[in-house]
Symmetry: C2
Subunit: 244 residues, 2 copies
DNA sequence: CGTCCTCTTGACGGCTTTCAATAAAAGTGG
DNA sequence: CCACTTTTATTGAAAGCCGTCAAGAGGACG
């Protein structure tokens, strides 16, 4: 990932022209590294920057008045993070590094040029955003209508599906650096109950665990249990404008 | 709303040029009306159409394997519906008319021309999509971390905030044509418990109810109870490209 | 005016949370 | 590399919120 991460991501779904690639590379000229645990941005900060993750994991979260926390999304390499800055002046959520992270930051004004010069990229980013919305909708169904076990299972399946987009080698086993409390904050559960559900998944022979790694043993069965659909494997790119 | 609904919606946040207005109007040339209860599209249909609602309410929902239903979003006049078609070939959710509805349908290929000829519109739609994502994220926090009463309250507050975008006259009272079962399918609750929570909100003097109308009595207090933030009042349009 | 849908209410049960305590692991400083 | 501290994982018991089941009332619609 020495070149452009976002270009690499897009090329999993369509072929870019050289002009497009170099336009995208401009978004990632400004690179930064932070340590695990670093709060990169706080809710209500007036930061207008967007990020593209080059390596490591991050997550966004909101804090509620009663002190509880909801992790709104995990972010993986190749993800564009903080796009809500395009709609609002203040950050709508906080952004935290889950592992050591390298990322590129750019101001949203840079997207203006991209939208003017590269309508196909703009349209592709729009399609991406819609796919992400569908993924959020899936999570709403998960939180609203499925059991605790299914929610934890859905999180693991979603993680492995998303990691596979950028890592074609990845099969069933992957590093999973979330604490059980963090898993609870993603799935809307308590850490205690996450613990019980993880053990239940192990007892059901759906997953295995070893030092912060997860292995999914029976993905089809687990997908059925979790009511999970992979939204990242394909994208419809037929309607996109011609490249420039 | 004889002209373009989506243009009217956008003009609440920015001023359009005549060229932009007429480009948007082209999306709404093909108008249809359906009766309350009509299923306009089913999950997994190969429909690639997008919709713009001109009058009436709709909702999108998914069905889970166990037969339960999750309503993923309510749709109001001025909303662009079915944008997930931009990312996928098959519909990711079903679309139902909640009241009698007039809407315009257009194929996603029409967006191609819009993205090429009107980068500012493209960018504005992108910003809109991000605002919707934030609204979905708010709902995830609501479902994951708040009580049943708070979820119902949040739904009512979200409804009134969204209706106000297109109806500046609207104050605290509005028609709310959802059954309690449908409210449950939005909030992840059972109809029985929705009933109890609605009465609790009435007893708390936060709302009044009368023949399918809701009046919000104490909006600030209810917003605090529900942990609700209005995401529709403003949009940052400073970064957008110049109009054409 | 009968049927179906929706709203309402009560009793009971279960899934998840809360509280509490211990063990294991990871991080820190000497 | 070893004590020490802090975080994380694990387990049990009890409580609570919300779901399930059931039954009746009220309204809409044909």
């Amino acid at each position: 990932m020495s070149g452009s991460c976002i270009a690499e991501r897009l090329e999993h779904y369509l072929s870019l022209t050289d002009r497009e690639r170099s336009a995208l590379a401009r978004l990632e000229e400004n690179e930064r590294s932070v340590r695990r645990g670093t709060i990169v941005r706080r809710e209500n900060d007036r930061g207008t920057d967007l990020l593209i993750i080059k390596s490591g994991w991050m997550f966004s979260h909101v804090l509620l008045d009663d002190g509880s926390r909801q992790i709104s999304r995990l972010h993986f390499p190749g993800d564009m993070v903080g796009a809500s800055a395009l709609a609002f002046l203040k950050a709508t959520d906080s952004l935290v590094a889950l592992t050591d992270v390298r990322f590129a930051g750019f101001d949203k004004s840079m997207l203006r040029d991209l939208f003017e010069a590269h309508p196909r990229i703009a349209a592709a980013l729009f399609a991406f955003a819609q796919a992400e919305s569908v993924a959020l909708t899936d999570r709403i169904a998960s939180l609203g209508r499925t059991s605790a076990k299914a929610r934890v299972a859905a999180l693991l399946l979603d993680t492995v599906s998303r990691l596979r987009v950028m890592d074609k080698q990845l099969r069933n086993r992957f590093a999973f650096p979330l604490t059980q409390e963090e898993i609870g904050d993603v799935t809307g559960l308590t850490a205690v109950h996450v613990n019980r559900m993880m053990r239940a998944l192990v007892e059901d022979r759906l997953i295995r665990r070893s030092n912060s790694h997860i292995e999914v043993i029976d993905e089809p069965k687990m997908s059925r249990l979790a009511n999970y659909t992979d939204r990242y494997a394909e994208l419809d790119t037929n309607w996109l404008p011609a490249p420039r």
